[in-house]
Symmetry: C2
Subunit: 664 residues, 2 copies
Amino acid sequence: MEGVDYLADERKKAEFDVDEMKIIWAGSRHHFQLSDRISKLVANDPGFSKEGRTMLPRKELFKSTLRKAAYGWKRIIELRLTEEEATVLRRYVDEPAFTDLHWGMFIPAIKGQGTDEQQKKWLPLAQKMQLIGCYAQTELGHGSNVQGLETTATFDPQTDEFVIHSPTLTSSKWWPGGLGKVSTHAVVYARLITDGKDYGINGFIVQLRSLEDHKPLPGVTVGDIGMKFGNGAYNSMDNGVLRFDHVRIPRDQMLMRASQVTKEGKYVQSDVPRQLLYGTMVYVRQTIVADASLAMSRAVCIATRYSAVRRQFGSQNGGQETQVIDYKTQQNRLFPLLASAYAFRFVGEWLKWLYTDVTQRLQANDFSTLPEAHACTAGLKSLTTSATADGIEECRKLCGGHGYLCSSGLPELFAVYVPACTYEGDNVVLQLQVARFLMKTVSQLGTGKKPVGTTSYMGRIEYLMQCRSDVKQATEWMKPSAIVEAYEARAARMSVACAKRLSKFDNQEEGFAELAADLVEAAVAHCQLIVVSKFVEKLQQDIPGKGVKQQLEVLCGIYSLYLLHKHQGDFLGTGYITSKQASLANDQLRALYSKLRPNAISLVDAFNYTDHYLGSILGRYDGNVYPKLYEAAWKDPLNDSDVADGFHEYVRPLLKQQLRTARL
Amino acid sequence: MEGVDYLADERKKAEFDVDEMKIIWAGSRHHFQLSDRISKLVANDPGFSKEGRTMLPRKELFKSTLRKAAYGWKRIIELRLTEEEATVLRRYVDEPAFTDLHWGMFIPAIKGQGTDEQQKKWLPLAQKMQLIGCYAQTELGHGSNVQGLETTATFDPQTDEFVIHSPTLTSSKWWPGGLGKVSTHAVVYARLITDGKDYGINGFIVQLRSLEDHKPLPGVTVGDIGMKFGNGAYNSMDNGVLRFDHVRIPRDQMLMRASQVTKEGKYVQSDVPRQLLYGTMVYVRQTIVADASLAMSRAVCIATRYSAVRRQFGSQNGGQETQVIDYKTQQNRLFPLLASAYAFRFVGEWLKWLYTDVTQRLQANDFSTLPEAHACTAGLKSLTTSATADGIEECRKLCGGHGYLCSSGLPELFAVYVPACTYEGDNVVLQLQVARFLMKTVSQLGTGKKPVGTTSYMGRIEYLMQCRSDVKQATEWMKPSAIVEAYEARAARMSVACAKRLSKFDNQEEGFAELAADLVEAAVAHCQLIVVSKFVEKLQQDIPGKGVKQQLEVLCGIYSLYLLHKHQGDFLGTGYITSKQASLANDQLRALYSKLRPNAISLVDAFNYTDHYLGSILGRYDGNVYPKLYEAAWKDPLNDSDVADGFHEYVRPLLKQQLRTARL
């Protein structure tokens, strides 16, 4: 029935103030109100409907995305939304589009790498969308190894122009979003060649399409790279292929903040420190961590609500069956993901602070914390996106068979999310960077150079190498100091063990290559410590609202004890805990599941997601799942007619034993 | 360039006889020749082309599947293929279709549950496809809990008919493949009610559609349940919804092998032992394990070949970059999956033997091994399908960004595979069944009842509870006895630990529910032991062919040592190994990766898959990846025109600042 809340009983069980938790989740009252207002605005506007998206053929899907993008921009203008509000609106429209790259990569690239003059020329055009830009870096043959890009930009002093060229097939730009069918311009990354010398990779603003008829300009071959994983999902984006045949651009379209080429073709480094550019990377990765908590929380919200709706087995005397959320196996898979959503949210919030801190230091020419901040954001990007991708798929499985239907929303959420494990740094490559930083940190211990920020625990290395957990009963695992020390000891010992084994190699690089898998494990241990300790730090703040802090303590306990159990081998192997203590941790974990259980639905309600944003019948706020699933089925195109298209040609001849003469 | 083998150098490196390995993989020379011949026949027939499948809108996809099914049947008839050959042909056509259910579930259900008379009536019709059948068990509200199904079949002695009815919304049949748009008949599972009494679930043959115009019969509401995960994939299947409004069928359409209803409405159990029905479950799950090795090997074949083609980083002096397959991080993710493909193949082969053994015993009224065989197949179904689903996604990630393109074949392979984790028993529910069996086995130790089959190691429980690994150097981990004992000790100790903790509960069922997550871990440990020991047993056979056995030893070592590392916590926690021994195991694992490396390509060549079957540009036999990716991109419908459909309506007004008046 419409208007009935089938989860009302669940909501009554909550032992905390949900409204206060909503503010904690949003980060502040301001952010709560902002996203509450904008998400409802989007949800209530039929112009942004997602209905039937996963059923659309590619061309129709793409066309509808173009419409939504234009409509969104129109609303932004009509409602005079601020930049912050506009960004939130685009998030809740919830459909990958060329605008993501225009606002998220093209404009920031010009801001970060363009001179003041270039910014003055290009930014107003871009900000009014009088041109549409994308970010053309990745090539068919090169992704992770940016220094290996093959596109060339050769300076021709005769005409004061750069000649942009794709010398090989593998130099074709490949993947950039918004490139295939929409962008009129791109920041193209190419090898800067002047005076016969290769100065490495630089960015160039290149026009690709006519601003009149939108046709590709002479020398430009551009198109879409084809279907990607999933229904709907990233197929609304025109990830593109691009080749240049000696395309000429004026010299002043080289992005010249960090280096210039003079009229005479002389390459000049500017006095802007190159480190400044790393600031952008920290920024982008911090937003990716924030997105991880968003995606994880959406999946968890769907799976949690449906787990309360779904009943299976355990009926006694003809009564109702057991809600699947009451099964410990379900809790053991679901609740750690719920805890992860909160954990990632808080570490993401902290990363925002870190970015501000780094920026301020950079402006004061203090580069001392940059390597640590860089390693930390790289590692957290890797950790949170991998866990989120796996977590979404786990949530899908937790919904049983029905999770496999597009109407559950989970297939699309998974397909649209997984690229995050690859873009902006492949997750394994990133952990190797973290490991490299950790090995350097270990090697400098005792030289007087103090480890900073998230590696400062390494300063207590002697203690951490020999301490033992003093936990004697399960509940002691709830002491923040017990849990943080366990993670510190594990991370420190794994790093030191790697460093020791590395030191046995004559050639450090060879050693690093040989031990790469172990190094990745050490890096992951370090990153998990960061997430755990930022969660613990959050709990040391003043947290208002009845019961809110208690719930977060339960979540923090679940997050850290679940991971401790999962990586028991590390904790036992490094000798910090005994198997008895590991078993106590597991007992405590189970106890926490029981504590969380009555609050589960309210903890996902605290995300404050509209049904529009969730896009899932299984995750409906009102829990009215089955009638809506049934209703939705009939909308499939296959149900347009009782008898399927193709019956007469291909099924009837078979049933009537007339295949011999059938045209197949 | 066409006709060039870009992987020729890799193939030259092989240290074993690939042709002999192909026979090992296929199971026998007969099976090799059979699948070689049929797979090429399919690959070379344009009627079976998979080109563009992932781009088709649902209706077109479905229509093309109907065509292929009819064409396949036509070819089977024309070529006078045997049943065995026809099954292999359908496998290589590689597209889920109603025929899977007709041949794989409908016909077996009649064979297994129908009387001789019923078989005589229905099988010839089905085997000529004069009717098309499916298997309608799962309902909207009930999947795992078959006993909870709600559809009713009420006997009416007045007319000698059963009245089939869907009393609630949740009783709607939901999911059965082939049901939505094609099947004319179904075996419907419903609660048998006669004389006012509910006798539980039984199967009934029910006609759903007219054999003339294919329209649903009166009282039958039937349709498709809508889009599912992925492009192409299972969307070629008409998983259906079905409701009955008091539909009448003759009494003799109840499947009466195990029980009958007489004309007078009396319910009678036949003397056929109900255990016989379990034989079918063992059969079906054995085929699922075989399918797991197929799916895993396809994904691994793609990822391995592409890892040899792809180069990134590590170029020195302008030379070529490093093949990504040479990175230890890549090997550490890829090679264990390659080893798993072989491991699952061999355990699947053994399960075939087990099924034959069980069948022979059943025919001799020997039910003694049935519970063990049932637990074993349930556990292996769960273990192999979960590992394969995760493995395919890992292979996709191992292909970097390009793995996200449908043309890589991996998105479709993943989407089409994952339901295996849910159908024929949810994987977690199955492991709980295994755990239940293990707990029973442990409780009976010392009662004189000897554990049989795969649990026979439990007979040495006293030794296994106190023994310690005697491994002193890395290579000793290659001794079969060392590895098998490690897995036995771990599995035994985890089971015993669970049993001990269970015994502390007053109510065993409550204890079982509370400790469910630990019980699942114990069950998984037991199942991993089975896979490891069957691999080890395989190696004790006579294996012909130069170097073949050596390669399999490497794979067996990788499979077992990788899992040992992954589950280190269990091995350390139960005290069987020391952390030094764990570290030696890891050293040995790395050494095995280096041994495997030169043989990697040939080990996936041994699967003998055609490019048609693989359906992947990244996995092409000739390694000619980039030109073919580039070529394929242009086939996307978005590239039909230079300027995208929708540009004039939705992009131009935006660029020209004319949104105010645009119709959006």
